[in-house]
């Protein structure tokens, strides 16, 4: 586990360094162009230009630039957004929680459904229910999120008018109790989270079903049955408990996919997460912001993997002794 943590730190350092080097190595010197009045990328706002010049410090030696950059990044200073004329750190702090809320909710729901459904389907493999679930999850995991999102939006938002159409909360609302606030946030969360859940649940279901089928064929399951244990104990205590180990790794590997999915869905539902921020900054070639998002997403994915390593280390005693 120590090695994993060390690996995490090394990866983190690599990400930050890459982020430092990329714009400086790109052909055409994009950073210099920001400050060059003859270039099309010239930043007209003088305060922004000053803070960018200070942040990149292109006139200083490269080693100095690097040291300053690292020190800043570790304190959350990721430069200044050109388009919005605000510190990137601040923008991320405002939008990231929404994205995290959406992603984690959907990941949680998809995991719960995938694990329970997958376990049950594997237990009854070959049955009509199993076949229907497999077909449904293949369809769900292949449908584009934009498409499923639109359908949900039209049905539950527009037609049935059960749920709000857009946004993360009701604009200008004042809440009397925290409970009211939670209700409002939740209502806004349902549709985007459902869309993302649908996109994620299929592969989770299939993975759990497969690994569970594998586990059910193991000798120790036969022995557990021979021991006369109850069905519930066989299913959960032995079979699912073993099938969950590969699932944890899948979950980590899937974190990046879930995050990008969330960004798309946020634009669709006008959800206040990083989605809009990202797309607009790409269109506007807002380099500092794009880089900030890259760093944050990388750190999130790295953390997810570290967490998965730690979890599977907890779950599988065989890994504890592995070097």
């Amino acid at each position: 586990m120590k090695r994993r943590a060390l690996g995490f730190l090394v990866s983190l350092w690599a990400v930050l360094t890459l982020n430092f080097l990329l714009p400086r190595l790109l052909p055409g010197d994009p950073l210099a162009a920001l400050l060059d009045p003859n270039s099309s990328a010239y930043v007209f706002n003088s305060t922004t230009r000053a803070s960018l010049a200070a942040y990149y410090g292109l006139d200083r030696p490269l080693a100095q630039q690097y040291a300053d950059y690292l020190a800043g990044a570790l304190q959350g200073d990721l430069g200044q957004s050109i388009r919005l004329n605000q510190p990137v750190g601040e923008l991320l702090r405002a939008h990231l929680p929404w994205t995290l809320l959406l992603t984690l909710t959907a990941l949680g729901a998809a995991s719960l459904l995938g694990v329970l459904g997958g376990a049950e389907a594997a237990w009854r493999r070959g049955s009509a229910a199993d076949k229907a679930l497999v077909a449904a999850s293949v369809i769900a995991s292949n449908a584009p999120v934009v498409f499923t999102g639109m359908i949900l939006l039209i049905v539950f938002g527009a037609k049935l008018d059960w749920l709000p159409l857009a946004g993360g909360r009701t604009a200008f609302a004042r809440y009397d109790t925290p409970w009211d606030a939670a209700r409002d946030y939740a209502a806004h969360l349902v549709l985007p989270a459902a869309t993302l859940t649908l996109a994620l649940v299929g592969s989770k279901f299939l993975l759990v079903r497969n690994s569970m089928i594998g586990v059910l064929g193991e000798d120790y399951m036969l022995v557990a049955r021979a021991k006369g244990l109850s069905t519930g104990r066989l299913k959960r205590h032995h079979a699912l408990r073993n099938a969950i180990v590969p699932f944890v790794h899948h979950l980590a590997a899937h974190a990046g996919f879930a995050l990008t999915g969330a960004l798309f869905i946020e634009t669709l539902f006008n959800y206040p997460g990083m989605g809009r921020l990202v797309f607009e900054s790409v269109v506007a070639r807002d380099y500092p912001l794009i880089q900030g998002v890259f760093v944050v997403v990388s750190v999130l994915v790295l953390s997810a993997n570290l967490l998965a390593d730690w979890l599977s280390y907890r779950l599988d005693p065989r890994l504890r002794e592995a070097p």
Partner: protein
């Protein structure tokens, strides 16, 4: 208690075919046996004979198979029982220590948790009580409490095997099924497991169903033995009888293939392969591998019938004596050139049997009468008294066509190849000669048979080689030619009189191995006459010791070598070179 504790009737386990359109695999196909309370039964058989499938079916664990027939536990029918009713029976009344202890434990739980599990589920013990019980159990199987705290991957195969036993014993079942408890263990661990199982049986009166191909363990643990072949029982009887005097050809082959610490014999498997359970042979399932199969065996399935105190599934009532000699006697009279005429009793009242597909070694020092006996058996000499029967027919020393036909089925490989072949004939002619004498086949067919025989002994079949003459061959090659000549008539019995004594040591070993391979492959009986006990014990199933014209000792090779009864045999053993030291110090494993 009336009736047996466990009664199995016509049990069948069929697995759905792997591919559509294929017949289903009948892994267990109509097996019946009974196990009394406190009794012990071993099921033995080659790998794939259906032992594990049978054991699982007894616990209702047949994930992919369908089970029919009847299994009754204390009168209660178990086949077709639903899972809910199975649960209270499993582990509490019948427990199974599975074959593969290495993969039998859930990798994510500590051993202790897994052993405690059934105690809590079935006996409702508190966790403290269950833990105390688990500690007692591990102590009983000779392990420590630290083993309870270990995860499966932290333990050795042998430790897991014992913990498997401890777990199987946890609820004190009435019947304990143990699948291969000794396989893959070193001798010491194996002995401990056997001692443990004996102890448990003595102490608790647990009925034991032992599944094993470790015949020595079977001999020590089971009162009854059932031999399973391709899903059917071949022979059932008291362990002592079946293992010491097997009657079914399969049992006999199984015992011969069994590595025994006290034999230094090279192993020879049963010829051929176990049939695929999806395509069992017609008639007797063993017939493609049986050395004594008759036409009926191919057509009619032999029922399992009582036969002299045991059950046997064989049309011929078991292993047939190929050759039976009774009270043979031969006296030579010297003609008295150098003194008074003298009677030399070369063979005195000798009786012996050679079974189908068996290698019998006849050893004794020079002048003990071995060769005379051999010549009597093949009809080169006629005895003064006694009789010889081949496949049940008396062998007369006359020229009736009946005895000629019998005689061509017994071939002699003589001691000195140069003596037995004409120097004027070519290799091809030498080998073809017996066929020409018989004069039954077409020349083309004969040429083919010659080629086959030469190929069987590992000689070239090129025309150039066929045209060579004896003086152009090495001793080893010539002896092979002589063996080929013996084989060309497809004999049932070969009497080989010192077949390799003229050769150097390396050539001896090669040739004797070849002879054994041919014998095994073709299912021929072989009487191997030699003064060299070291050589004989490598291939012989049984050894007869001859001295002064009499057979003074005989028995399974393992016994004769490990526990010679006679001083003379001991002397021969001491004289034998390269005798492995451990054989002498180990006790025979078989009764």
């Amino acid at each position: 208690m009336s009736g047996p504790l466990l009664s199995v009737q016509d049990l069948r386990v069929t697995f759905a075919p792997g591919a559509p359109g294929q017949p289903p695999a009948r892994a267990v196909d109509g097996v019946s046996f009974a196990l009394a309370a406190g009794g012990s039964l071993a099921i033995v058989g080659e790998t794939g004979s259906g032992k594990t499938t049978l054991a699982r079916a007894l616990l209702g664990l047949h994930p992919a198979g369908s089970v029919s027939g009847s299994v009754q536990l204390g009168g209660q029918e178990l086949v077709e029982l639903d899972e809910g009713r199975w649960r209270p029976l499993r582990w509490k009344r019948i427990a199974l220590a599975v074959q593969n202890a290495g993969t039998a434990f859930d990798p994510v739980y500590r051993m202790g948790e897994q052993i405690v599990e059934p105690l809590r589920e079935h006996l409702g013990l508190s966790s403290a009580e269950a833990a105390a019980r688990a500690a007692a159990l591990v102590a009983q199987v000779g392990l420590a409490e630290r083993h309870l705290r270990a995860y499966p991957h932290q333990l050795s195969g042998g430790e897991k095997q014992r913990l498997m036993l401890a777990m199987a014993l946890s609820c004190e079942p009435e019947i304990l099924i143990v699948d291969e408890p000794t396989s893959g263990q070193d001798m010491l661990a194996r002995a401990q497991v056997i001692a443990l199982l004996r102890h448990i049986r003595a102490q608790r009166g647990t009925a034991l169903l032992l599944i094993s191909h470790d015949l020595a363990a079977v001999a020590q643990l089971a009162e009854q033995v059932a031999v399973l072949y391709a899903g059917k029982l071949a022979e059932v009887g008291a362990a002592r009888d079946v293992l010491s005097a097997p009657r079914h050809p399969y049992t006999w082959g199984l015992l011969n293939a069994y590595p025994n610490m006290s034999t230094a014999r090279d192993l020879s498997g049963i010829r051929g392969q176990m049939p695929d359970p999806a395509h069992p042979p017609t008639g007797c399932r063993f017939h493609p591998r049986c050395t004594q199969a008759v036409d009926k065996c191919r057509r009619v399935e032999p029922p399992l019938q009582a036969h002299g105190g045991r059950l046997l599934a064989c049309h011929l009532g078991g292993l047939q004596a190929l050759l039976r000699a009774d009270g043979l006697r031969k006296t030579f009279t010297t003609n008295g050139h150098l003194g008074p005429a003298q009677n030399i009793e070369a063979v005195r009242d000798v009786s012996l049997e050679v079974y189908e597909g068996e290698v019998v070694g006849l050893v004794g020092e020079t002048g003990s009468g071995k060769s005379t006996l051999g010549r009597l058996l093949v009809g080169l000499l006629s005895p003064e008294a006694g009789s010889i029967a081949f496949e049940g027919n008396p062998l007369a020393l006359n020229n009736s066509s009946a005895s000629k036909r019998l005689r061509r089925r017994i071939q002699l490989i003589p001691q000195d190849p140069f003596d037995s072949v004409s120097p004027y004939l070519s290799v091809g002619q030498i080998v073809r000669e017996p066929l020409d004498v018989q004069g039954t086949d077409t020349p083309v067919k004969r040429a083919e048979q010659v080629q086959d025989a030469l190929a069987a002994v590992g000689l070239p079949t090129l025309d150039a080689f066929l045209a060579r003459h004896p003086h152009e061959l090495s001793g080893g090659q010539l002896q092979r030619v002589v063996i080929a000549r013996a084989l060309v008539l497809e004999p049932k019995l070969i009497v080989a009189d010192e077949p390799v004594s003229m050769l150097d040591a390396s050539e001896q070993a090669k040739l004797i191995t070849l002879l054994k391979a041919i014998q095994n492959e073709r299912g021929i009986g072989l009487l191997l006459i030699s003064h060299d006990l070291a050589l004989v014990r490598k291939v012989a199933d049984r050894i007869l010791v001859m001295r002064d014209g009499q057979i003074i000792e005989g028995g399974p090779s393992s016994r004769v070598i490990a526990q010679p009864q006679h001083d003379y045999t001991r002397a021969l053993l001491r004289a034998a070179p390269s005798f492995d030291w451990y054989s002498a110090s180990s006790n025979g494993d078989r009764p």
